[in-house]
């Protein structure tokens, strides 16, 4: 009897000015047993692309910085072209623990279409202001898109082939993560949330604050525009 075709798992990493940590992130993912890795250098002004290329993985580069959402979408498109059955997305700053990839894939293989990594199911060590931002974000996502999740802004997610075909996002920046929630709701995809470990290092906390009040308002406006 012919054995079933093994599933092709690809890990997509959007990266913007992550030259100092990207090789570490890649080697950690490899150590967890995943070798199909795509890094999207989102128009970095440092040598993120060179650092990633040296690791012998698939590296693509955006000529211009288009935002995390745009980079993830490019990575997913690339993974689809490479025949991916499952795609896992995680951030390029090393805050996500690749040890969580395996349980995500197990859940996808059990029949879930999307697995959302949730920082708020286990928020030990998470700064209080981040918890507050997330809760506000979750409430707004629920208001605009109609689906309640515990971490609407998490970039650590896994998608089945069905989800990869159905999810159609239009936004480019941090509103992308919320837009995926809309798509899950719109297509009635089967999803679950997995508590994930987040490492708030000096490096990740030292980066320019990505989600401040101004960006939050912009994100909300874009969410409303994209939902209309």
């Amino acid at each position: 009897m012919e054995s079933p075709k093994p599933t092709s798992v690809w890990v997509v990493i959007p990266a913007y000015n992550e030259a100092t940590v990207i090789q570490g992130v890649i080697s950690e993912i490899r150590s967890s047993g995943f070798t199909n890795i795509i890094v999207i250098d989102d128009g970095s002004i440092d040598n993120t692309q060179e650092q990633a290329s040296n690791s012998g993985i698939v590296t693509l580069r955006h000529l211009l910085n288009r935002g995390k959402g745009a980079a993830v979408k490019t990575g997913i498109e690339a993974a689809k072209e490479l025949g991916a059955d499952i795609v896992v997305t995680l951030d390029g700053d090393g805050q996500h623990d690749p040890a969580d990839i395996a349980p995500m894939i197990t859940l996808i293989r059990e029949g879930y279409d999307v697995v959302l990594g949730s920082r708020l199911k286990n928020c030990d060590g998470m700064p209080a202001h981040k918890i507050a931002h997330n809760r506000i974000g979750n409430f707004l996502v629920w208001m605009v898109y109609g689906l309640w999740v515990t971490d609407s802004q998490s970039g650590f997610r896994a998608y089945s082939k069905k989800a990869l075909e159905l999810i159609d996002t239009k936004t480019d920046r941090y509103e992308y993560d919320s837009e995926v929630i809309r798509e899950i709701h719109r297509h009635q995809l089967r999803f679950t949330e997995l508590p994930i470990q987040v490492r708030y290092t000096e490096y990740s906390m030292g980066k320019v604050q990505k989600m401040n009040l101004k960006n939050g308002i912009k994100t909300l406006i874009k969410m409303i525009l994209s939902s209309s």
């Binding site: 092709s8 999207i40 128009g43 698939v58 693509l60 580069r61 955006h62 000529l63 211009l64 288009r66 935002g67 745009a70 979408k73 490019t74 498109e77 690339a78 072209e81 490479l82 025949g83 239009k170 480019d172 406006i221 874009k222 525009l225």
Partner: protein, 117 residues
């Protein structure tokens, strides 16, 4: 006539004149539509500045009587609609730009990788 009325009318005149000059010079950024819209907007500003009674006549003719506040309120709504439309246009342009950047990036996907899967 106050100094503000004269200044506002002059500014409006400069903008209308500039628009017409651009159109005569066949500048690529100037279309008949843009010229028409800017002439109507600046022309209205000039008319309201020079002849304040025009605003009362307009509000009367559209059934608002002497209630100028309603006319101002409608003006705000128009400005917000234009702003919203502009935001939507910018959003669409951003989306197109991302698509172009994405196509360019995906075009460099190594062919041996595609073949090996």
């Amino acid at each position: 006539m106050s100094i503000y009325q004269i200044v506002l009318a002059l500014v409006a005149l400069v903008f209308i004149g500039n628009g017409i000059a651009k159109f005569i010079r066949h500048e690529r950024s100037q279309t008949i539509f843009k010229l028409g819209v800017s002439t109507v907007i600046w022309g209205s500003i000039m008319a309201f500045a020079l002849f304040p009674r025009v605003s009362f006549m307009v509000s009367k003719s559209i059934g608002l009587g002497e209630n100028l506040n309603t006319l101002i309120f409608i003006g705000f709504i128009v400005v917000f609609v234009i702003l919203f439309k502009l935001l939507a246009i910018i959003e669409r342009l951003e989306r197109n730009l991302s698509e172009l950047v994405r196509k360019e990036a995906l075009g460099k996907l190594p062919p041996q990788k595609k073949a090996s899967v």
